[in-house]
């Protein structure tokens, strides 16, 4: 995976991502941020997060974009900004072939992000996982419950300030 071999296809990826971003920017204006043109994972951020579902639907159905496939949705904790967020890796599978990443951020306490579970069904479980690990709410999610940890687990394990509980149902948890 040398630098020279890697840069040629990736710069193509950035160019494609830029074209994609322009289409989205034309429609939604300042609801989306500038495109971050790094060679690893070009991304933009949704600044008006209440529009995230509309943007998602537009990205899926617009004939110039056709992001049919959501590869990944990861929850992220930004302790310095006091925010939580999600990062979605989207791809146009088998149609146009381009890919881009989208970031949405919300407040650390009581933050709400619109759910895209009905746009990409992949997002259903990924959002449940993000909720389980970070505790942000997804409004409009069909079934927002904890998925990996038990229902009565305390705290959100992947937050940077997570303190593990001492006992669970009478069983000692830490070492």
């Amino acid at each position: 995976m040398g630098d020279t071999q890697e840069n040629i296809p990736q710069s193509g990826e950035v160019i494609a991502a830029k074209a994609v971003w322009q289409v989205i920017n034309e429609k939604f204006g300042d609801a989306v941020s500038e495109l971050d043109e790094n060679p690893f994972m070009p991304f933009f951020e949704v600044l008006k997060r209440e529009q995230w579902r509309d943007i998602a639907l537009f990205m899926r159905d617009n004939p110039k974009l056709r992001f049919t496939y959501m590869a990944c949705l990861s929850g992220v904790d930004y302790p310095e900004e006091r925010k939580l967020g999600i990062v979605c890796n989207l791809e146009s599978l088998g149609e146009l072939g381009h890919r881009i990443a989208v970031k949405v951020k919300c407040d650390r306490e009581g933050g709400i992000i619109p759910s895209v579970a009905k746009v990409w069904k992949t997002a259903d479980w990924h959002e449940r996982e993000a909720y389980d690990m970070y505790g942000m709410e997804f409004s409009g999610h069909p079934d927002l419950r904890r998925i990996l940890c038990p229902e009565d687990w305390e705290g959100y394990p992947l937050r940077k300030d997570y303190q593990v509980q001492e006992t669970y149902h009478g069983i000692k948890v830490p070492e």
Binding site: L148, I171, K172
Partner: protein
């Protein structure tokens, strides 16, 4: 057991203790519960399959805890699973044995420090008779562990507790380290 090899003729009387017969019968048909948790379950399956063929020891996995004598805890026990493990253990009829397979179920294994959702050793919730180390243990070591369970059964008698049987097993056991060192010395000398 030697009995079958000794070519007993038709009109013979065998004298032995009830304990011996019972223990022989029990240890020759040790039925574990087919209960896989994680990576170790694959090695357990491999042990049951063609190359290692556990059935030659009379060990055949059963699907239900109510039909089994032995529980092989093969893999990481998590907090969510812990209560199910206890319930499965309680569903097994007495006398029951527990073999803890692999580092995770022995002590939490690699998940010891940061594994918030991992139970650090299945012996925190159910009593364990035999521990098999390894991550995952090779089929050979699982077979070794199962033979240890058989030895334990052989030590049992009517009227003595499991703890006493385990003690007897401990007294009778030979430290393999000395044997290995003796063999090494012999190899160097020759």
């Amino acid at each position: 057991m030697g009995l079958l090899d000794a070519k007993i003729s038709k009109h013979n009387v065998l004298v032995t203790s009830v304990d011996n017969v019972m223990n022989w019968a029990r240890l020759s048909s040790l039925w574990p519960m087919g209960f896989g948790l994680a990576c170790c379950a694959i090695e357990m399956m491999a042990t049951n399959a063609s190359n290692y063929d556990l059935e030659r020891f009379g060990i055949f996995p059963r699907a239900s805890p109510r039909q089994s004598d032995l529980m092989i805890v093969a893999g990481t026990v998590t907090m969510k699973m812990a209560e199910r493990v206890i319930r499965l253990y309680e569903q097994m009829p007495e006398p029951r044995y527990v073999l803890s397979m692999g580092s995770c179920s022995n002590c939490g294994g690699p998940y010891w420090k940061h594994g918030y959702h991992v139970l650090k050793g299945v012996d925190r919730i159910i009593p364990v008779d035999v521990y098999v180390p390894g991550c995952p243990p090779r089929p050979e070591s699982l077979i070794g562990g199962l033979m240890k369970v058989q030895e334990l059964i052989r030590m049992e008698q009517i009227g003595i507790s499991r703890a006493e049987a385990l003690k007897k097993l401990e007294e009778k056991s030979i430290d393999p380290g000395q044997l290995i060192q003796a063999a090494r010395k012999g190899a160097i000398a020759s």
